[in-house]
Amino acid sequence: MSTRSFGTRVRRIADPALLRGEGAFVDDIPLDNCLHVAFVRSPFARAEIRSIDTVAARARHGVVAVYTADDLGILDIDLPLLIPHPSITGGRTQRPLARDGVFYVGQTVAMVVAVDRYVAEDAAGLIDVDYEPLPVAVEIEDAAAPGAPLVHPDVAGNVAAHFVQVSGDPDAAVAKAEHVTRVRVRVDRSTAASMETRAVAARFDRASGELTVWDGTQAPISVRGGLASLLRLDEDKVRVIAPNVGGGFGQKVLFFYPDEVLVPFAAMQIGRPVKYIEDRRENFIGSSQERTQIHEIELHATKDGEVLALRDSFLHDTGAFIPYGIAVAQVASTSIAGPYRIPNIWVEFKAIYTPTVPVTPYRGCGRPQACFAIERAMDQLADELGLDRFEIRRRNLIRDHEFPYLREGLLFADGLAVKLDSGQYGKALEMVAEELDLAGFAAEKEAARAQGRHLGLGLAFYVEGTGLGPYEGGHARVHPITGKVYVNTGLTSQGQGHETVFAQIVADQMGVKPEDVILVEGDTKAFDWGVATFASRAAVVSGNAIHKSAVMLRAKTIEAAANMLEVSPDDVELRDGGAWARNSNRFVPLAAIATATNPLRYAFNEAAQAATQFAPASKHDGPALAEGQHPGLEATDYYSPPHATWAYGVHAAIVEVDPDLCKVSIRRYVCIHDCGKMINPTIVEGQVMGGIAQGLGGALYERIEYDVDGNPTNANFVDFLVPYATEMPNVEILHLETPSPLNPLGVKGVGEAGCIAVGAVVASGVEDALRPLGAGRFHQVPITPSMIHEALPRR
């Protein structure tokens, strides 16, 4: 075989077209005579709708249709609750257009379809909705307090779900403990803020009865199934395409957003293509958000710092509805013990409704919150016991020989018990300690103090359950004319470079260059078995499915080539786009093999003619296609993981805090991470750096703000602070590759890795820097200058 592609820094295949502006995002797709959608959205966090007057809107020139709940027929229903769970005692989802009541500022109340977006917005402004506002409690603790105004009148205490999970025997362990550390932490709400907002366009072809939907979604196959079901169409008649998508980060895995069903509905009714391109303000008030959790965490330990038991009780803000179930809270619960042995765990959460934008996963999906809680608690335990932060971790990290490490009773998002399969946690910690040169830093810190500067060291370890099921598929076929390998899978990319990494996997099996592997994903017409892109699973699940299909394809190719070259299969090598007879110059190109394995009557091109120069591809007597044989070079296979495979890492930073400006600067940021074998280290690093940037956003800058009435007050890029390049420090990334034992490629996911530990790193660094000034603990992120000012003792 020629040089192996897996593991190399292949440059991305998608880049040249994207760089030339040739990407096709939803709003780029040319649709003749397309109509445009705008929504009327609730200006109240909670209100009853008395009446809706659409007369003036409908009279506006250029308006084609106006819809309210009364116009939706079969779609006037509660949208699906995607992931049911027994703990969800008060599950509520929204309707495509509100009927009778609104539950958050931004909720869709009416839809206008017009000749352009400008007119659609004009008309939306002419729709007169008579609201009767209701009292609200917006802050999570206020909403959870007894007597708080209810978001949903029939959901007591605003509790959407209540779940307790137990592993081991916490009560017994607590009784034996010699020391308890109690910490209360809070992570504030943020949002994915991908550069492309959400978008959906639809066209209904009356002649074929086919509905085509372009949707900037992370879940086209699942959307197709859902749409077919809701619109009562055959799945065969519904085609969903996720074209180029400008970032997803979890926000785009939720379905249905109201527009995702309403736009296809309108297209079918009106008979013209319809599109909805969310604007930035709408993304802030209509597309889901995540992060708010308040944890009260206890570590029960021996005097030597061995943590025997962990108890954690947290409130999770789910917003006004719970369409994605308890995924975020569940992932947080099952990640709460991090990389530590802690054999006894009691973890409880209550998902609380607040009259705000609904909460569904955003990159990290609860792991950042869990990491913040456990890491801050470990730091405090270390402090209270007089141990250093590295030592407390050394004493508690799961040791290499203890893998696989089962946390019976903690069920991960896939419904299976948490089983940390592999890792070298101790080594990762040593690597970061060495990289930081702790002794050197101690001296630097002293010297800085003498100059009146305040340096601190931040540290946090994280684990990340990745690659969960149920499954994904891979389909590969050699094209008979070009000899290129066409590959499909059921999930899609929003920038992760699938077209490159999956090509690398196939290239190795088939002996072709990665650029001769063409990946087509995100089109239900091309391949429609699969789930979606989320939870750092694409490389693991689709990667392995594609690998398995490529292995099958390779075997078929070798068998056919062996027949054509009249050698034994063991003497066939696949490389340079062809099959070679070992120790000779005889070869047959892949195109010819593909042609030859498709018995044709007509030699209508060169490849067909060339194929006839070799022995037949199939050696047998009887019909051209033997029983059980399929024509061509094609294979389909699936990968269904036994359970999640756990990646991990440790981040550290040297921060400087200026107590006069109350400003935090990151002088150095080091990241050790292990995602098993890396398909493409450059792409892995890109994912990690992007994740760290979002983590930094959550640590120092990003907080979705609501006033006491539930009005979003920073629904724009001026006041919601996504970091620029000037705010991003340099990052040093060191790789550790402990192969996953769970899948053939040995890979683990890395999509969310970067963002998980950053909040804890920054908080611990700031705390360390300001300790000499008596600033106390930093147990909430993002950390703002005002918070630092507040924490510093008055002069």
């Binding site: 917005e121 402004g125 800058y701 000037t726 705010e727 000012h789």
Partner: protein
């Protein structure tokens, strides 16, 4: 986020523009559009008529004369930022420009536009206030010169009347031997200021401050001269204790309430810090002090 309907006019003379403005209730002036367009896209501004100044030749250009830098209404931020004569006349301006949004915004946005927009956290209104600059406003009745102190009334409110077009801003040149400095604190580079301070300092032959100008933005509903801090510093040798006292004296200028970006208490603390640092830097730049 698309603007609501409006009529559009692109006059070629100032008189036409003034007449259009006077003749249409709800008309607004369009120069660079970098403040107006976002506001229109959010539908916070909904003019009935937009009067675009772009074709009026008389509104182009920057002239340095008579101890002033005169910036016409269509002169872009970036033009002023890169103007060599203006920089020689007053280097403070180029230093401040680096903090005004980002280059692509400065390429299109105008200095006069920023002054008329009068965001309480904007840098150019601070500069005009610090230097005691003026603006020239033109209406059908003629022109009048408005000093900075009388121009900025309130966040996004100036004393320009509805029939006036501001045609020029005039920034005084820096006095010989004077030192200048500017410091701004923002959460991210290019954001509106949480607080910013500009200073101009002249030292007498005895090394004491003979003149101290201090202005801040972001701390109140308009840019403010820090009179109490100025008074505390004039005639002193600007040592650490005196700077400390001046910083504390400046805190009283903070009238902004707690908001999502800063508490009032933090703003006061920040302002004091910026005053100390900025005065020290300006003093170091002034020719009365050895380096």
């Amino acid at each position: 986020m698309k603007p609501s309907v409006f009529d559009y006019a692109s006059p070629t003379t100032l008189d036409e523009a003034v007449a259009l403005l006077a003749g249409h209730d709800g008309a607004m002036i369009l120069a660079g559009g970098q403040s107006l367009l976002p506001s229109m896209n959010f539908r916070l501004a909904a003019p009935s008529l937009l009067i675009d100044l772009k074709r009026i030749d008389a509104l182009r250009g920057i002239v340095v004369a008579d101890g002033e830098i005169r910036v016409r209404a269509m002169a872009r931020h970036r033009e002023l930022e890169l103007d060599a004569a203006a920089h020689r006349a007053n280097p403070l301006i180029r230093a401040v420009m680096a903090h005004v949004a980002h280059v692509p915004i400065r390429n299109r946005g105008t200095v006069v536009g920023s002054l008329c927009h009068a965001d309480a956290a904007a840098e150019m209104p601070l500069v005009l206030t610090l230097l005691d600059g003026t603006v020239v406003a033109r209406s059908a009745a003629g022109e009048r010169v408005i000093p900075a102190a009388d121009f900025f009334l309130f966040h996004m409110t100036t004393s320009r009347t509805a029939e006036e077009i501001v045609v020029e801003a005039r920034f005084p040149a820096l006095a010989a031997g004077a030192g200048w400095a500017f410091n701004e604190f923002t959460r991210r580079h290019g954001d509106y200021a949480i607080a910013a301070v500009g200073a101009v300092v002249r030292l007498g032959p005895d090394g004491r401050a003979s003149e101290v100008r201090l202005a801040a933005c972001g701390v109140s509903s308009r840019p403010v001269r820090l009179a109490a801090a100025e008074a505390a510093l004039v005639g002193t040798s600007l040592d650490a204790a005196e700077l400390e006292a001046a910083g504390q004296a400046a805190e009283g200028a903070v009238t902004a309430a707690d908001d999502m970006h800063a508490t009032a208490a933090y703003r006061r603390h920040l302002l004091a810090t910026l005053v100390k640092r900025t005065v020290a830097e300006a003093a170091a730049r002034s020719s009365g002090r050895a380096h």
